[in-house]
């Protein structure tokens, strides 16, 4: 009985929407934009984290990352700028590196110190180029592929530099730049190696190595007036099984050396893959705002249209009641109509969202992810909207007095 009524309500909603095409389409548009924005956010963020997850699993999953400050939860990350982390002094120190490297089962430790400084040779590198000071161990952890030359090792001079392919092109005009010199922060460095193009600006090191100049930790420290400023410490254990115990030991050691202040975080696995790209945060922030606004506006649109529809059909409500419709029958009729609008809009939004997401990723280095979870989220949001904003009009319809409705003249 309920099922038949349900089918009938759907047919009815379809007819009604067909009857006022433009109105329904415009109402749907609000939901479409909202759901599309959400689809964009979710598919892109899933795409971005998948890259990092893939990187880590390709490194057999036995690496951990230590970052200064306490890891914020991902939702706050989405909606708040990360001002604190960008400008405060790092809480990680050189002595921490020593503690960590003495931890059992830890094979390699590589600190990352990102420096500011203009990179210059034939031409000046664009401002998005990065200078990073690190130790040779980074090669063992991140498993760099060299295009030519070698990575830093214990024997190279302090003025050695390894550059990314894009940086090489930017400052020298071509990809082969072994032996040539460039200046960073006014100091001369000789290129000893060029990294193979990686094309993944999003990674667990938060550094686009295609655009980076890698110098030794000592040189970096000297350039920074003998002050270390460690953004991240990469750690590799001898096996995945020993990683957990090693992390525990690191935490204890660091906590002791930091006087019990929990001002660092040790991240493994999925924790590292929380996307850190600034671009991603920008896209996510804007689309979240659009989504929230358009979902509310879209919802108000639905409610408005449903109230108009109820008013237009007052007489119909009276007739239906006289012919045996109960209050809940009437209520369901309008609720399902509002759901039809919101779910219809949601489906278009889901499709449109992917069109936009694929459009955006033409300019990015990763693809949006298509999975069932995003479809379910889009559907749930649509159903929630239709119910939330359709409830009041449908209750109003059901409460109409049959006699007043029947004798209303329109």
């Amino acid at each position: 009985m309920i099922r038949f009524l349900f089918l009938n309500h759907i047919q009815n909603a379809y007819q009604s929407m067909k009857g006022s095409r433009v109105r329904s389409a415009l109402t749907m548009l609000g939901v479409t934009i909202g759901v599309a924005s959400i689809t964009v956010i979710l598919s892109l963020s899933a795409g971005a984290s998948k890259i990092i997850t893939d990187q880590i699993s390709s490194l057999r999953g036995n690496i951990a990352v230590i970052r200064p400050g306490v890891a914020t939860n991902p939702i706050t990350n989405l909606t708040q700028a990360r001002l604190g982390r960008d400008y405060s002094t790092s809480t990680l120190t050189e002595s921490d590196i020593t503690y960590i490297s003495h931890t059992p089962h830890i094979q390699y430790v590589a600190p990352l110190m990102v420096l500011s400084g203009t990179i210059k040779a034939d031409s000046t590198a664009p401002s998005d180029s990065i200078v990073v000071a690190t130790t040779p161990s980074l090669d063992n952890i991140s498993d760099f592929k060299m295009r030519e030359g070698q990575f830093l090792d214990k024997n190279v001079e302090q003025n050695a530099v390894v550059v990314g392919t894009q940086l090489s092109i930017n400052v020298f005009g071509n990809e082969s730049s072994i032996g040539r010199t460039l200046t960073i922060h006014g100091k001369e460095f000789t290129v000893i190696g060029v990294l193979k193009r990686m094309n993944d600006p999003i990674n667990y090191n938060s550094i686009d190595f295609d655009n980076a100049a890698i110098i030794s930790f000592a040189a970096g420290k000297k350039m920074n007036k003998n002050v270390t400023q460690i953004q991240q410490i990469d750690v590799k254990a001898d096996s995945t099984a020993n990683l957990t115990s090693a992390i525990g030991a690191i935490k204890t050691a660091l906590l002791a050396s930091h006087n019990g202040e929990n001002d660092f975080s040790v991240l493994t696995g999925d924790q590292i893959s929380q996307p850190t790209s600034q671009l991603f945060y920008m896209i996510a922030g804007v689309t979240t705002a659009i989504a929230a606004i358009s979902l509310i506006v879209g919802g108000i649109g639905i409610m408005n249209i449903m109230l108009v529809t109820v008013a237009e059909r007052t007489r119909e409500i009276g007739i239906r009641k006289a012919l045996g419709a109960s209050n809940s029958d009437i209520s369901w009729q309008f609720l399902i109509e509002s759901l039809a609008i919101s779910v219809g809009g949601g489906i278009f939004g889901y499709i449109f969202g992917y069109v936009v997401a694929f459009g955006i990723t033409r300019f990015l280095t990763f693809d949006p992810i298509i999975n069932w979870q995003i479809a379910v989220v889009a559907l749930i949001i649509s159903i929630f909207m239709g119910t939330l904003f359709g409830l009041y009009p449908s209750i109003r319809a059901a409460r109409k007095d049959p006699i007043e409705s029947l004798y209303q003249y329109n």
Binding site: L5, I319, R320, L323, G324, S326, I403
Partner: protein
């Protein structure tokens, strides 16, 4: 329904029925103490001037108007004790409405309009359309099934409205001026149809302005100022109520009616 089968229980029993609209100074008494018993199988015509409460009475009988004073028993059960949902079910299964102004739903076509009451009985779409199609054939409207209401003539529209009232096979048919503005030929066709239903044992209560139509009824009630003015009473022959030409009182009321119209 079991009670309805028992011929000794009246289908409709009203005791001291009152209905007021508005409150305080604006209060208006539409029905002012009506006692009325209608048995199964009666064809009752209710007459009276405009504003005497005929339509209100019909709405109350049809369970559309709940805020009443006094007693209303339908099939021996007090209406006040029946839940809203149950009342909707009674409207769906037992009562057929024919409205004065047709009241077809303009955005649905003829067959969908006729099939409308079946929705609330929980009948599947294919079955609904089949039943509706069958009944439309009885009314010689089978060629108009997919017309929209505005494409029909007045007579056709009213026939569709009657077909819709009958599609549920209701035991009580409430008709509010079923021949409304129709010419005498179209009125005749509709009255023949109602008369036919009456002969098959249905209870019919019809409000009308037209005294000629009362010839089809087995009982004529005239109303004045929210009260029953005259009542011919029910005439039964061999257990079945028969059509009877009303007596003088009716003629007076018809004259009164004409006076009122002027």
């Amino acid at each position: 329904m079991t009670m309805a089968a028992d011929s000794s229980t009246p289908v409709i029993r009203l005791r001291g029925l009152e209905k007021r609209f508005g409150i305080g100074d604006a209060e208006n008494i539409a029905i002012n103490g009506i006692n009325l018993t209608i048995d199964k199988g009666e064809f009752v015509a209710i007459m009276g001037p405009s504003g005497c409460g005929k339509t209100t009475l019909l709405n109350i009988i049809g369970l559309l108007d709940r805020s009443i004073e006094g007693e209303y028993e339908l099939d021996g059960q007090s209406v006040a004790t029946i839940s809203k949902r149950k009342q909707a079910r009674i409207r769906s299964k037992q009562i057929g409405f024919v409205f004065q102004n047709f009241n077809l739903i303009p955005r649905l076509n003829v067959i969908e309009n006729v099939a409308l009451p079946l929705i609330y009985k929980g009948i599947t779409r294919t079955k609904r359309l089949k039943i509706a199609s069958d009944i439309l054939r009885n009314f010689h409207l089978n060629e108009r099934e997919y017309y929209m209401p505005h494409q029909l003539s007045g007579g056709q529209t009213q026939r569709v409205a009657i077909a819709r009232a009958l599609v549920n096979d209701p035991s009580i048919i409430l008709a509010d001026e079923p021949t409304g503005n129709l010419d005498s030929r179209a009125s005749h066709i509709i009255m023949e149809e109602l008369s036919d239903l009456h002969k098959r044992g249905n209870t019919i209560i019809m409000v009308t302005h037209n005294p000629r139509l009362t010839t089809y009824a087995s009982r004529v009630i005239t109303m004045l100022d929210g009260q029953i003015d005259t009542d011919t009473g029910s005439f039964k022959f061999k257990g079945q109520s028969i059509t009877l030409q009303p007596i003088r009182r009716h003629k007076r009321s018809s004259r009164q009616l004409k006076r009122n119209k002027k």
